[in-house]
Amino acid sequence: MTQPKLQVKNCDLFYGDFQALKNIDLEIQEKEITAFIGPSGCGKSTLLKSLNRMNDLVEGCKITGEFTLDGVNIYKDMEITELRKRVGMVFQKPNLFPMSIYDNIAYGPRTHGIKKKAELDEIVETTLKQACVWDETKDRLKKSALGMSGGQQQRICIARALAVKPEVLLMDEPTSALDPISTIKIEELASELKKNYTIVIVTHNMQQATRISDKTAFFLHGEIVEFDDTHTIFSNPKEHKTLEYITGRFG
């Protein structure tokens, strides 16, 4: 078996006195979509955020255990900005900055030192195309994106995340604020992106997990109850709790 893209060993996470994650072990393979499912407050978003250290922003958050990206410890041996460049993130609600679409996309590359206009133009165009919003945006790149629909905004957010050329894309319930049609577009986009990126997606929507993911992890009370191929999880789960959850008996 090849080395996993991301590996979590023995992770405990506390918010103050509250233990949000208990003894998590997880391997995420390259160029696959891994879905995290489970009821609210089960720790799936928390784990996702620790994969690019967004939890560092939360006060009183303490993490133990080992997180590695390509075998390198991300909490000890990697610059935080470097990590976040390689592990991009798409948030629950589209959070475009109050500037033009172009500047939004170019923000990341500029952050990491790209300043040539031609190069930036190129990045903006390719990433918007990759995220399937080029047609809607190409005539209004200089305008604010705030007038666009939620789905379009979210795809621009994905383009923005792609613009720094990440290897891994973390998606935190990216469709929970969107209508069904936009949701399908984002899902198609995720499946498309899988060819080049490793994707981890947190979702409340179990159909979504079955539609797009290769592996699924089921979380409950801060623990991973079961982690397997998506197909196995949804057709033939080993744990009783998983079965109860996916058949809608709680959560």
Binding site: N52, M54, L57, E59, T81, E82, L83, R84, K85, G88, M89, F91, K93, N95, L96, F97, P98, M99, Y107, G108, T111, H112, C157, R160, A161, V164
Partner: protein, 284 residues
Amino acid sequence: MSVMSDKMRTYRSHPMSLVFNILTKIAVTLTIGIFVLIVGYVIIKGVPYLKPSLFSANYTSDNCSMLPAIANTFIMLLAALVIAAPLGIFCAVYLVEYAKKGNRFVRLIRLTTETLSGIPSIVYGLFGNMFFVLALNWKLSMLSGACTLAIMVLPLIIRSTEEALKSVDDSFREGSYGLGAGKLRTIFVIVLPPAISGILSGVILAMGRIFGETAALIYTAGTVAKYAGLSDSGRTLAIHMYSLSNEGLHMNEASATAVVLLVVVLLLNGLASLAAKKLSKGGN
């Protein structure tokens, strides 16, 4: 009409409610009336005396020119803001973006800024006289005055900047960090631009305060009616007006000066609330 009679019926059985209602209306009429009276009186009384000689290049006791005082006021504004604006804005940046919420140091800073905003200007004047004029031996000078005023308006700028920064949605910060940007870049490129109108409103309010200030300046910047450099003593427009009306010989010129002072201060305050309004709109 039926609404009216309905109300009247209610008031007939509850006369105290009617009295209370009328009292509040009287109060509000008084408050607005006083504003209109003061502004109207000052303008009507002063405008006829706004003669060209009041804007002669140099001050003599005959022409009472306010031009040197106006020039000094601008220097004073500029100098005080150059000191206070970066200090205040950076302080707020530290409080909002770096400090942990509710830790002791933050509470200490909040307590001290509140204390500063409660200190009367005459106490600032006294302190400025003791510290800048005498202890640091800067003499009565524009610089002493500017430093005194800078401390005085500091809480104003800190508070408005803090509010403006807090109004910037956290998801912007997350988005920026998520793209691998550092704290500084996030602050300067993502957080400060949408907050700028709120910060501006604080700075403009500070300008208004500096423009109209007298008590803190008499014994720090002095009352010399000449064009002043930073190390010279010079009077600002507000002190100019005080000197004129205090001497009692130039009441007409004083009332003309009052017009200029009042109009500029009201304009500044109006601008500040416009800027603040723009912030609250941008936030939505």
